[in-house]
């Protein structure tokens, strides 16, 4: 039976096409989620560092919309489609210069999703052209639950609002090939700086093994705060995002008349960019670069190994000056419930900047008397063999999140993981309730992380 049925006018098709074109820069698939009152298109990029969500309000965007719940899909229907197929369906057809006959523009587009037992699951789009030709496209889809990024609005203290067209003009000044964009504010001069740079290392110099950057160019654009509709940002806070994502977003944003709002908290925590136009709400959640430490992000996250992300090269091997970063770890999920981890990291190699007080040395250091290796001071042996090797494209240790709230253990240094557990131990109980007599001191075995108290 027909689960979903809607009709778009010519403008609607154009808007939908623009949204899909923007999404196509991030990923190949889009997840369509339909409810009674709105239709949502979401996608996540390969390295899971950017989440895009377009919501179309039923009563304002569609000429006609009907959602029929089925036993299988009661409140919402979701499926995954290839963006490429949708782009070719919803594209604007070229019109000829000599319009002797009627033009080939779209008159309307009817989309229906046919699903059910015993029926082929298809999305059927009928495009009616003004000249009378009708094209009907039938696409198969995959049923897949959409993935949403969690973004906690309450956590964000920093935000600014600016016209997207103004921002788009700034992007013209950035040269191609740059990767990272640092946004920071300067309250004294009342300006917001947009600095872009790249940290991709082309080769290592012979003398001191210094990094020779591929593109040793910093471009800084200072925008007066008056240009912004609203600025509430902590002074001198640097937040760093990927230029490619930002550019793709602005390319789309400039077509809307609205103002773009950015909200974020601290480096390493996600940043949300949003704007809306007639019936369409566009939201982007981007991961920001966290703390920069040369050796931290050598850990290859197996999750990202599977997903090669060509553009997400946020290895900030050498550049530290621009970040008055806090001690955040390299794997910040969008969920908010990880304060404990960030507070008690044992980082023997401290970066140049440090806002949080260094954590107390773990208790095991005082007792490293025995046969077992001290976890914290011998961290080098846990490092990969060749820390200077050129990173492959699938290495994006900076950004990413997983659907669950659990920390991804493989991306966390083993030493700190275990020591964290050791620190978090409460005092061992004085006496045992019953049972065998202990043969070893509890303190001496806790450091192995066997007891997850």
């Amino acid at each position: 039976m027909v689960v979903l049925n809607f009709t778009l006018s010519e403008e609607g098709v154009a808007v939908l096409h623009d949204a899909l074109a923007c999404m196509f820069k991030f990923s190949d698939d889009v997840c369509l989620e339909a409810r009674k009152d709105k239709l949502t298109l979401t996608t996540l990029n390969l390295s899971k560092s950017a989440y895009i969500c377009f919501s179309f309000a039923v009563n304002r965007f569609f000429s006609r919309y009907n959602f029929e719940g089925t036993p299988q899909y009661r409140d919402r229907f979701f499926c995954q489609l290839y963006i490429r197929s949708l782009l070719s369906i919803f594209r604007a057809r070229p019109t000829s210069a000599d319009q002797r006959e009627r033009d080939t523009s779209i008159e309307r587009c009817d989309v229906a999703i046919d699903d059910g037992v015993g029926r082929k699951s298809r999305l059927v789009a009928r495009v009616s052209f003004r000249n009378g030709i009708t094209a009907s496209h039938s696409l198969p889809y995959e049923v897949k639950t959409p993935v949403h990024a969690k973004f906690n609005k309450d956590e964000t203290q920093n935000r600014w609002v600016i016209s997207s067209r103004t921002l788009r003009q700034l992007m013209d000044h950035f040269s191609p090939g740059i990767e990272l964009l640092d946004i920071n504010t300067d309250d004294d001069n009342r300006i917001v700086n947009f600095t872009c740079f790249t940290e991709k290392v082309q080769k290592r110099g012979v003398v001191n093994n210094e990094a020779v950057l591929k593109k040793p160019l910093h471009t800084n654009i200072a925008v007066e705060m008056d240009e912004f509709d609203d600025v509430e940002v902590e002074n001198k806070l640097h937040i760093i995002i990927s230029v490619k994502d930002f550019r793709a977003i602005l390319q789309h944003a400039q077509m809307t008349s609205g103002a773009l709002t950015a909200s974020y908290s601290n480096p390493g925590r996600p940043m949300k960019l949003s704007y809306s136009t007639d019936g369409v709400l566009c939201e982007f959640v981007l991961m920001t670069v966290g703390e920069k430490d040369a050796l931290v992000q050598k850990h290859k996250n197996p999750q990202k190994n599977a997903a090669k992300a060509p553009a997400q090269q946020l290895d900030s091997t050498s550049h530290r000056a621009s970040s008055a970063a806090s001690d955040n770890r390299s794997n910040p999920p969008p969920s908010t419930s990880r304060p404990t981890q960030s507070a008690i990291h044992a980082r023997p190699r401290q970066p140049a900047f440090e806002i949080r007080p260094s954590p107390m040395p773990p208790p095991t250091t005082a007792r490293s008397t025995g046969l077992f290796v001290d976890q914290t001071e011998e961290d080098e042996q846990w490092e990969p063999v060749n820390p200077d090797e050129e990173e492959e494209e699938d290495e994006s240790g900076r950004l990413g999140w997983n659907n669950t709230n659990e920390p991804n253990p493989s991306s966390i240094r083993i030493g700190s993981y275990l020591s964290r557990q050791a620190e978090a131990q409460p005092e061992p109980p004085e006496g045992l309730v019953s049972g065998l007599e202990p043969t070893q001191r509890l303190d001496e075995v806790r450091r192995f992380g066997l007891f997850s108290d």
Binding site: S85, R93, I133, S136, L139
Partner: protein
Amino acid sequence: MEGHSAASGPPILRAVASSTRPLYQLLKAIHFTNKVYVEITENGLRFAADHARVMQGEPINALGDTFVSLTELQDLPSPAPREADADGDEDDEPPAVTFQVSLPAVLETLQIFGAADAAARQARADLDPYRSNLRNYRADAFSNQTLGMSGTCAISYAREGEPFSIVLDEAGVTTTCNLTTYIPEAPDDIPFDIEDISFKIITSARWLLDALAELAPTGPEKLTIAASKREPFLRLSSSGGPLGSSSVDFAKGRDLLETFSVGGRWVQTFKFDIIKSACEAMRIASKVSLRGDGQGVLSMQFMVEVEGSGPSFLDFRFVPYAVCDDDDEEEEEEDEEGESRRTEM
């Protein structure tokens, strides 16, 4: 061979044109194979291309049109004696002279002085190491337009065994291209039964091209063409693609079809790529006449408006997939053939 010993008998063919563009355009439309079969007849030149037995031919009328002068065609000197029938029958007319040449070579030579279309020009401009970055959208100082050069193109074929010669003369620079000719393999025309036409539809070539452009993105294998008296009058459906299936119909666009006469219902399936090879013809043509015969063969005849002369015709013929009645499977007999013919109107 007769005429061989003669120092220089009159050539079989000598045709002069002022511009290579029309010829280039038409030949490009049948450029999906490497060897083109040339037939020189009294009425003109006929180029035929064959792909998996797809054939296109294109006769060029001698009197006027593309060629400013076409001389000495009438005296087709004696290929006749060589090919004389054993029984010595007199042919009603001298048999046509046929040979094969390499089509890409012909197209290349026609492009020697300036590409005949913008896309090829652009492609060549990209490769030019001396092209400047500035003003690269305009013709530079050394192009033909700027220098006001115009040239002539003379096609000649002396006699059998001699190369097919194209001489391009532009502002004093003469380029002579001698193309090797080959003995043609006997081509079989795809039979299209004019007596038994199931339907005939004439429409603008543009709609056909748009329809195929709608169907192409899913990467289909097969194209089904259905013509019927009632709605949907003409429907093209694609299937077998990895990304889904599509169909285009003219249900509401009945008046787009200028001529529409359908006997009964006619449905045939073709290989999509073969039909797609006619896209170039659709692009340059103004009108197309679609006809299907009782056997299922589809004929597409495109009318191309050539500047400076009358219309040319490109004739394509396609043989569909055969449907076995015994079992449900379709056999893939991909005999498809197209022919392009240019006649003077």
